[in-house]
Structures are given as C-alpha cells and as structure tokens.
C-alpha cells in the first residue's frame, strides 16, 4: 500500500465516522457539530479528486454556512428534543430502513465501479471551446458560458428560497428586521474578532472571486466568504439585518439575476440565442455578470441564514 493510498483510506474512514456520528448522535447539537466537521473535511476529498473549485464551495457552504444554519436552528429547537424523544421508531422498521439503505449503497458502489471504461467525458469539448471565452478556468467556463442557463436559474432558486423564507414570518412583523437581534458581547471578545476578521475576509472573498476567471474560485465562492463575514458582524451585534421592506436590500438582491437576464436577452436580441455572448465581448460580459453577482450572492446567503422577519417594523 502506498502512502497516498493509506492517506486516502484514512481520510475516507474519518469522513465516514463523522457521517455516522451526524446521523446517530444523541443530541441535535452534537450531531450538528459532527456535520460541520464532516463538511469541512469533505473539502479534502474534493481536493484528492482534483476538483479544487468544488472543494472551495464545499468548504465555504457545506462546512461553514449550512453548519451555522443548522447550529442556529438546533439552539432554537433545544426545547423540542425532549418532546420528540418519545417518538421512537420500532426496531423492525429500523431494520428495514437499514436494509434498504445498505442495498442502495451497494447498488451505487457497483454501478460506479461498472462505469464504462474509458469513461465518457465532455472535457475535450470543453477544452476545444475554451478559446471562445478566453477564461482559464474550465469550471467557470462551463458555469458561465456552456451551461449559463443553469447558473442563472440557480441564482433564481436562491432568490425564490429567500422569498419562501420571508413569507414564513408572522404577518405582524412584515417589513420588520430579519431574524433575532444579537446582543453585544459584554466582554467584547466577539466584537474584537468581528472587527478584525471581516476586513481580511473581505479581501479574501474578493480575491477568490477575482482569480475565478483563471484558477479555482469564482463569484459564488467569493460571495459565500463575504456572507460569512457579514454574518459574523451580525452575530457580534456590530450590524443589524436590513428590514425586509428595505428598498436598497431588495435592489441588491435582484441586481445579479437581472444583470444575467439582461445579458441573456441581449444575446437573443442580437439574433443568436438566449445567453449567447458575442465572441468579442464574451470575457468582459462573463466577468461583468460575475461582478454583479458577488454582492447579490453575499446578501442573499446572509439573509437566508438570518431567517424570516422576526421583529416589528418599528423596532
């Protein structure tokens, strides 16, 4: 066994143990901590698979943001755990579930191992057409040019999810500020961290967006880092969420998808197709869309985590 194989094996075992912990741990908080560790370490597997773009996304989203989302929910649902503990599932049914899961996993393993060799791939096609956009990062090429419709609709999904979350706020709080207010930490340690870390984080976020054209990175990864820094400042009580009625916030929320849509319609108007970029301006247009997208992504993700309107419009 080579060193690399031993490393891969150790990494896989560790990630699987964490997945088991997340599924089987007794308390919701303990399970969520396991999930955060799982998400952060999953990024390592993505590195081993040579997908650094995905590793960046997974580290930022899987470990960071969704973990924090779950932690906040676990803290607010603490009282519900004792209520639901009585609802156990009969041993027989657990056995059936285990068998079903095992069969599913086995079927997946065999189908992955039986994939045709040489594997079908679109890499040559992506390489052939890379010159059209002159971007050096093939994943950005796919996201922003070859499958731009997917990416545009993905941003719409983010926005729709936010609309869904906002619509869950009680009527009396409509137009009010989003989510609970965080108290300023009396010892000031958290405030100190929230003053020191975000400036560095903003630089990193913009850097990750900027290198995305030619190296792993991009608008989404950069925007996620910015969202995390904003949320950190919120958790320290340094800033508050905007009210859900805020015009400025709503403008930022729709700016990114609108830019995408306008460019897409422009392609249609120029007679080619929806989202067809004129070759001479392809790179500039893609970077322009990404640039418009970064603040939208940061604000949408930040507000998704903040939750529905939770305070009356006056406060």
């Amino acid at each position: 066994m080579t060193t690399a194989t031993a490393f891969n094996l150790g990494l896989a075992v560790l990630v699987m143990v964490l997945a088991c912990w997340t599924v089987l741990a007794r308390g919701a908080f303990a399970a969520t901590v396991g999930f955060v560790a799982y998400g952060l370490l999953l990024a390592f597997i993505w590195i081993r698979l040579g997908a650094v773009d995905v590793a960046l996304t997974e580290a930022a989203i899987g470990g960071g943001l969704s973990g924090v989302l779950m932690l906040g929910a676990a803290a607010r649902l603490r009282a519900s755990e004792a209520l639901i503990a009585a609802e156990t599932i009969a041993a027989g049914r657990r056995l059936w579930a285990a068998a079903l899961s095992a069969v599913t996993a086995l079927a997946l393993v065999t189908s992955v191992l039986l994939l045709p060799d040489p594997a079908p791939t679109l890499a040559p096609a992506a390489a052939e057409n890379a010159a059209a956009t002159t971007l050096g990062n093939p994943v950005t090429n796919v996201l922003m040019a070859f499958r731009a419709l997917d990416t545009m609709l993905e941003k719409v999904v983010l926005l729709l999810a936010l609309v869904g979350v906002w619509s869950l706020g009680p009527d009396r709080f409509w137009g009010g500020r989003l989510g609970p207010r965080h108290r300023v930490d009396p010892e000031g340690m958290l405030v100190f961290l929230a003053q020191l870390l975000p400036p560095a984080g903003v630089v990193v976020g913009i850097y990750v967006f900027w290198v995305g054209a030619n190296a792993p990175g991009g608008a989404f990864q950069g925007g996620t880092i910015l969202a995390a820094m904003w949320l950190l400042a919120m958790m320290a009580g340094l800033t508050d969420t905007p009210p859900s009625g805020s015009r400025r916030a709503r403008l930022v929320l729709v700016a990114g998808p609108s830019a995408f849509l306008i460019v897409g319609l422009g392609g249609l108007w120029l007679g080619e197709a929806f989202l067809a970029y004129p070759l001479a301006y392809a790179k500039a247009l893609i970077l322009g869309i990404e640039f418009a997208m970064v603040p939208t992504i940061a604000v949408t993700l930040g507000l998704l985590l903040a939750g529905p309107p939770d305070r009356s419009a006056q406060s």
Partner: protein
Amino acid sequence: MIEFLVAAAGFILAMVALGLARVLRGPAEVDRMMAAQLIGTGGIAVLLLLAAARGVPAAVDVGLTLSLLAAFASVAFVKGASPSELDEAGGR
C-alpha cells in the same frame, strides 16, 4: 519528498481524527465547540501539505477559506451552545 509530505499530512490527519474523537464525545458541549478549531489548525496543516505534495497551488486558497470559515463556525458553536446569548426577538 512527496512521499514525506503525504506521510506528514497523514500523520497530522490521524492526530486531528484522535482529537475529534475526544472532542465529539463531550460530555460537556464546551468540548464539542473545539471541533471546528481543531480542523481550523490541524486540518489546514493537512491541506497545505497536500497542496505542496500534489503541486496544486490553488488548494492553498481552500486553506485560506477554511481558516475564515472555521473561525466563523466556532463563533456559531459558542453562541449556539449558550442560547441565552441569543436575544429574544425584539417584537415580542
């Protein structure tokens, strides 16, 4: 040299795994709060060693992201474990 770097990464990963096992077991929730911290140091060391071994400089950017996000998650751990830290919604 590459063998050495991967071996060092494996060794530190084993240390992180042992630490995680200890930290997740608890019993106090304070112990569990250290999990992200543990990955934020040991995990990043593993990542940097891997980046050097495999010659993927971009993996260093993942380390940069991880260092920020691990700190962010740790703050959420501390706030999540002590619900009194979270103020009640102002409207109630």
